[in-house]
Structures are given as structure tokens and as C-alpha cells.
């Protein structure tokens, strides 16, 4: 899901930087209006938690292991606006320290995983769980939130890849991501629909189940009724 450097043309990554900056500014303003002076330490903690959640490898049925992106879970736990900053900061640290995701692609990566997943997952969760506060429906909503959020972000990423040959080619030669929409979309969609989405949904549901049992009051998406 992390787009590396070299795959996106400037006419794609520059608008995504601008788009992401807009969401970031809106998120900071929104959280500052609620938390006031606590904003900075709170978001620092949220970002660290968002980063560390990816460190938890979990056994997955089929004798393999996986970890979640965690953006949907963070949005359900902390709210979508906090998740915008928390996930984005985690992605920026990943890019700057570990080289996961490109520097030019930070705007696109933060938009795909830091903006799209939190909002899609959060509202999917709220919509599917409805008025229910416990039980299987809430767990199913958590699974669906993780699954849908990741798949929507993967589709968006595939479109970003797929438009590159259309907008940045020279004499038939692709200059950036070489596969058009007809290859990029099915390739990304299939692997996320059949594998990564299920892992994301499973991890989101398993962790949220524990939060529901131990401290449901700490779940943002359960508070706003």
C-alpha cells in the first residue's frame, strides 16, 4: 500500500501534497477546538500508538501471520480527525526513518491511508453497527470497517498508479508507474479483496472486541451517539 518514490508523476504527487495539507490543517483546527492545550501531547501519543499497532504481528488462519495498517482501528478508537494526524505522522516517520513509502509520495500515501481509511472505516463502522452497543453486530461492523476502509484505499492507490501511463508517457514509453488502469485496478483490488482486506478486518475486529469488553468508554465511535 505504501507508494514508493518513482511511481507517481509530479502532476499527481504535488496535488496530493496540497490535498493532504488541507486535511491536516483542518484536522489540527478541529482537534485544537476540542482539546486546546492538550492537542500536541495527545496527538503525539496517538501517532506513536498508530505507528506501534503495525508492530503487532498476529497469527492468521492459514498458518501465516499479518499486521494491520491500523488506520480504521485508530479512527474507531480516537475519532477520524485524530486518526488523520496520528496515521499521517506514523507514515511520515516510517518514510523518513525506515524508507517505507517514498518522500515524493508522502502526500498521496497520507491521503490514501491517513485520510481515506479513517473516514471510510469510521463511518462504515457507525453505519453497520447502527444503534447496537455490544454483541456480534458490533464485531461484524469492526471487521467490515477494516475491510472496506482498506479496499477503498487500495482502489484509490490503484487508480493513482493506473492513470500514470495516461498522463505521463513519452513516445509510448511509460515514465512512472507502467501499468494502466486495466492492469493496476484488478491487481490491487484482487489482492486486497481476497487477502489483505480480510487480515485488516480480522485484526480490527479482534482488537476492538477486547476494547469493548475492557473499556468501551474509551472507544470514540461508541461515544458519539
Amino acid at each position: 500500500m505504501h507508494i514508493p518514490d518513482g511511481y507517481l508523476s509530479p502532476q499527481t504527487y504535488i496535488p496530493f501534497y496540497a490535498l493532504f495539507a488541507g486535511f491536516l490543517a483542518a484536522a489540527l483546527k478541529k482537534i485544537r477546538s476540542v482539546l486546546s492545550a492538550q492537542t500536541i501531547p495527545y496527538l503525539g501519543m496517538a501517532s506513536a500508538f498508530s505507528f506501534l499497532i503495525m508492530m503487532f504481528n498476529v497469527p492468521i488462519p492459514g498458518a501465516t501471520t499479518g499486521h494491520a495498517v491500523g488506520a480504521g482501528l485508530i479512527a474507531i478508537l480516537l475519532g477520524p480527525w485524530s486518526a488523520v494526524i496520528a496515521v499521517s505522522v506514523a507514515l511520515i516517520i516510517q518514510a523518513l526513518i525506515f524508507g517505507d513509502g517514498g518522500i515524493t509520495a508522502i502526500g498521496a500515501n497520507c491521503f490514501n491511508m491517513g485520510v481515506v481509511i479513517p473516514f471510510v472505516s469510521y463511518w462504515s463502522f457507525r453505519f453497520i453497527k447502527g444503534k447496537t452497543r455490544e454483541g456480534r453486530r458490533v464485531i461484524a461492523a469492526a471487521f467490515a470497517a477494516g475491510y472496506i476502509g482498506l479496499n477503498v484505499a487500495a482502489l484509490l492507490t490503484a487508480v493513482e498508479f493506473g492513470i500514470q501511463p495516461l498522463i505521463a508517457s513519452e513516445a509510448g514509453r511509460p515514465l512512472y508507474a507502467p501499468y494502466g488502469l486495466s492492469v493496476a485496478v484488478p491487481a490491487m483490488a484482487l489482492e486486497h479483496l481476497l487477502l489483505f482486506g480480510i487480515i485488516e478486518g480480522l485484526v480490527t475486529a479482534v482488537i476492538l472486541k477486547f476494547f469493548l469488553i475492557s473499556d468501551p468508554a474509551s472507544i470514540h465511535a461508541m461515544k458519539e451517539e
Binding site: 486546546s36 496527538l43 501519543m45 506513536a48 506501534l52 526513518i97 517514498g102 514509453r173
Partner: protein, 283 residues
């Protein structure tokens, strides 16, 4: 059965290791370690943009050579750095892009014939030509992507390994990144190392206790519980840090002051390292 523990421990070790290596290499007496962080950030942004807009293989190859020289004279560990650069180039540049060199994806002059069908086929929106082969245009695209990925990783690692993370983030102020956002990143960076230790302890404890066949669902429940614990510890740490900040006069706003002065020697060094990129951009 328990390889998820080793995977998690490896990820955690990489976090701590990356921090240690970055701290150590940024203190070395090399060329880029001497450059002012703000000027280094300008060099970084200029070169990363240059790498992404150049459209010819020769410019990218020249940039690859220039970055190799800069990394060498900055006295960085060539093996460690080029292991990462070549892996990224091989995986993201070569392996992923290689099928695009076929005329099924990239049309053009075939330089290597691979197969011949009795006629062109059409599957839904996909067209398979009668003659299947690797095209000159496709190969050029793969080479371009490969070099661009390697160059981007090279310039990123050059800056990351020669600049302490704190200085790197503080220099973002030059580009009007809000101080509060820089502070959030710096705080998060510190929390990550503190909480990594908690997670490492948890996985080591789990490893020492697990034996025989344990159900995957039971392990998932244990990990869910540990994630909850990390969340609670994070919340407690944030509350403590906030109280400590308030006790020291924190009122909600943060201002960083750039105390390092840019000297004539900094500017001369900056001009020297920028020169190859400026020449390439003009070609």
C-alpha cells in the same frame, strides 16, 4: 507456529536499530554531516524533485553516480546503504515493472521475441498480440523506473543517515511547516522508542511462556489484550507528559528557534553539492 513473535521482535529491533545507526552516522566526520541541516533539506528537496522530473536514463544514471560519491565521502556504511538501495531498485523498480516491458503492456519495437500465437486474441479489455516479446520502449521504462527508485532511496538515505532526526524535523520550519506539527512528530518519535520497549518485553515474555500447540484464536486474544495495554500506557504517558509540560509553563503553543547560523563555509559547501544537480537540470 510462533514465528509471529520473531517477526514482531525483528520489527521492534529494526526501530531501535534504525535510531541508533542514524544517531551514530550523523555524528561522523563526513561531507554531508558538515552541511547545515536547513541547506541539506533544500538539497534534498531539489534533488528528489530533479530525480522525479528527469525523463532520460543517462541523467538518472549520472545522478546515481553523484549520489554514490556523496554517500562515500560522507563515510556512510556502503554495504548497509546499498543493500537497501539495491533491494528497493530490484523489487520496486525491476521486479514489479518487468512485465511492463512486454508488448502486451507497452507497445513498441520488439527487441526480444518470446512467443508467437496463431493470431491476435482479445480477452474482454485485454489484447494479446500474435507476436509476444520485450519492447525497446518497455525496457527503457523499466530502466528508468529502476534508476529513479534507486536514486530516490539514495538521496533519502544520504540525508537521513547524516542528519539527527531532531535537526531534520526542526529544519522543516524553513518550509513553513507549523511548529505544532513538528512538535507532534518529535513527541511521537520519542513515545515510539519508549513504548517499543514495552512491546518488546511483552513479546519476549510471551515467547518464554508458549509451548506446544496453542490455538491461533487464543494468541490473537492475548495480542488484542496487549494492544489494549499499550493503548492504556500511551494514554497514561500522554497525561504525564502533558502535566510535566504544564508545570514548565506550556500553554498550548510551541515555537522553535533556529539558532544555527548559516556561515559562508556552509554556503560554499552547499554550492558545491548542488552544482551537479543544477548542471543535470539544465541539460
Amino acid at each position: 507456529m510462533f514465528n509471529f513473535i520473531d517477526k514482531s521482535l525483528k520489527s521492534l529491533a529494526e526501530i531501535v536499530g534504525a535510531n541508533y545507526v542514524q544517531w551514530e552516522t550523523s555524528k561522523k566526520n563526513g561531507l554531508f554531516q558538515r552541511l547545515n541541516p536547513r541547506l541539506k533539506l533544500v538539497f534534498f528537496i531539489f534533488n528528489i524533485l530533479l530525480i522525479s522530473i528527469k525523463k532520460d536514463v543517462s541523467s538518472e544514471a549520472f545522478l546515481f553516480l553523484i549520489m554514490f560519491i556523496f554517500i562515500t565521502v560522507s563515510r556512510l556504511d556502503l554495504f548497509r546503504i546499498y543493500k537497501k538501495i539495491l533491494f528497493a531498485g530490484f523489487f520496486f523498480g525491476f521486479l514489479v515493472a518487468l512485465p511492463s516491458s512486454l508488448n502486451i503492456i507497452t507497445d513498441g519495437e520488439i527487441v526480444l521475441h518470446l512467443a508467437r500465437l496463431d493470431g491476435a486474441r482479445q480477452f474482454w479489455i485485454y489484447r494479446i498480440p500474435a507476436e509476444i516479446g520485450i519492447t525497446r520502449e518497455g525496457l527503457s521504462g523499466v530502466a528508468m523506473l529502476c534508476l529513479r527508485v534507486m536514486n530516490s532511496v539514495s538521496v533519502s538515505l544520504l540525508i537521513i543517515f547524516t542528519t539527527p532526526f531532531y535537526d531534520l524535523m526542526k529544519s522543516l520550519k524553513t518550509f513553513r511547516v507549523p511548529d505544532s506539527f513538528i512538535m507532534i512528530v518529535l513527541l511521537s518519535y520519542k513515545y515510539i522508542f519508549i513504548l517499543s520497549k514495552t512491546i518488546e518485553d511483552f513479546y519476549l515474555a510471551l515467547k518464554s511462556r508458549l509451548i506446544g500447540n496453542v490455538k491461533g484464536s487464543e494468541i490473537r486474544d492475548i495480542i488484542a489484550g496487549r494492544t489494549f495495554l499499550v493503548f492504556k500506557k500511551s494514554t497514561a504517558a500522554y497525561e504525564e507528559v502533558y502535566r510535566a509540560m504544564v508545570a514548565r509553563g506550556f500553554s498550548g503553543s510551541v515555537s522553535f528557534y533556529l539558532t544555527d547560523r548559516i556561515t559562508a563555509a556552509d554556503l560554499a559547501l552547499f554550492a558545491a553539492v548542488m552544482a551537479p544537480g543544477i548542471i543535470i537540470s539544465a541539460l
